[in-house]
């Protein structure tokens, strides 16, 4: 039963106030995009064992979407941040790197 802090309204609340929205920072591919790009955008997911950048909505609260950086192995939450970003902010990356040395965003061998 997770606890998350909504960066929009500042409330720290239990999971039941929130709705999980899957992987964050997906780039939308629309008309004119290649089959591969569209498939990746729609279906391919990092599903990492470890740091996951993901979307949440405070749906039983202020109603805002935000992003969270969370470990899928320990459920540790490194931080939450604005959904209006294309990249995780530096301070979040620094926290993650400090706790998970060698972490690379979306590292995919």
């Amino acid at each position: 039963m997770l606890v998350l802090e909504c960066p929009c309204c500042g409330i720290t609340a239990e999971e039941t106030e929130f709705h999980a929205g899957g992987e964050a920072h997906l780039k939308r591919f629309g008309p004119e995009s290649s089959n591969e790009d569209f498939e990746n955008y729609m279906f391919m997911r990092q599903n990492p064992k470890g740091v996951h950048l993901e979307r949440w909505r405070h749906n039983n609260g202020c109603g805002k979407w935000f992003h969270a950086a969370r470990c899928t192995m320990t459920l540790e939450v490194f931080g939450t941040y604005s959904a209006q970003t294309y990249e995780p902010p530096k301070e979040i990356c620094d926290i993650i790197s400090a706790k998970r040395p060698g972490w690379l965003r979306g590292a995919f061998s």
Partner: protein, 190 residues
């Protein structure tokens, strides 16, 4: 003229460890806009005579008030029969500013839970720390009560005012009755 009916037509229940009542028609206006813009602030304050609350707060003056709903949303309270005028005032005040002000008085219901065990009754239903040192007068909290979304604040030390969707009013009333059943005092909040 026909009679206006609030969600529960002022139903009350006093059979348990707290008093539960639906308070009848309450004017409510949802305002969405850039809360940092002067036009948005002034439109709201001048229409209600109440200050813009800080994040997570609600300011009140009788039936009038302003509740902080979100980073770009306020819930404006006013007497039910003044909603139209208030909306006009707000629209005038907003002028050309990009904002949305809409009457939601009938879309919602207002209930009150009062008495020395009001905090405990609420704490059975909402996943929120309602101990006196954590939830104080002036605070405004949007959360869930059992299975529906709700928002509430305290109008005095022993009274909560709850706002929920009109269609869920009966459910919320029934929930509160169960939570306030006789013999269910917890004795946790000191």
């Amino acid at each position: 003229m026909f009679n206006l009916i609030s969600a529960l037509d002022k139903a009350t229940d006093n059979s348990g460890i707290a008093k539960i009542e639906e308070i009848g028609l309450q004017g409510m206006i949802t305002l969405r806009g850039d809360l940092s813009k002067a036009a948005v602030k002034n439109a709201t304050t001048s229409a209600t005579g109440v200050k813009i609350p800080a994040q997570g707060q609600a300011n009140h003056n009788g039936a009038s008030g302003i509740c902080w709903m979100s980073t770009d949303e306020l819930l404006v309270l006013c007497p039910y029969d003044q909603v139209a005028d208030t909306l006009v005032k707000m629209h005038t005040g907003l002028g050309k500013a990009h904002a949305l002000a809409v009457d939601v008085s009938d879309a919602r219901a207002c209930l009150r839970v009062s008495g020395p065990y009001a905090r405990e009754v609420m704490a059975k239903l909402a996943p929120v720390d309602l101990s006196p040192d954590a939830f104080k007068l002036g605070m405004f909290r949007r959360t869930r009560m059992a299975q529906v979304a709700a928002a509430f604040w305290m109008v005095d030390d022993t009274t909560f005012q709850i706002v929920c969707f009109r269609s869920n009013a009966q459910y919320v009333l029934d929930l509160l009755k169960v939570a306030a059943q006789n013999g269910s005092e917890v004795g946790f909040f000191k």
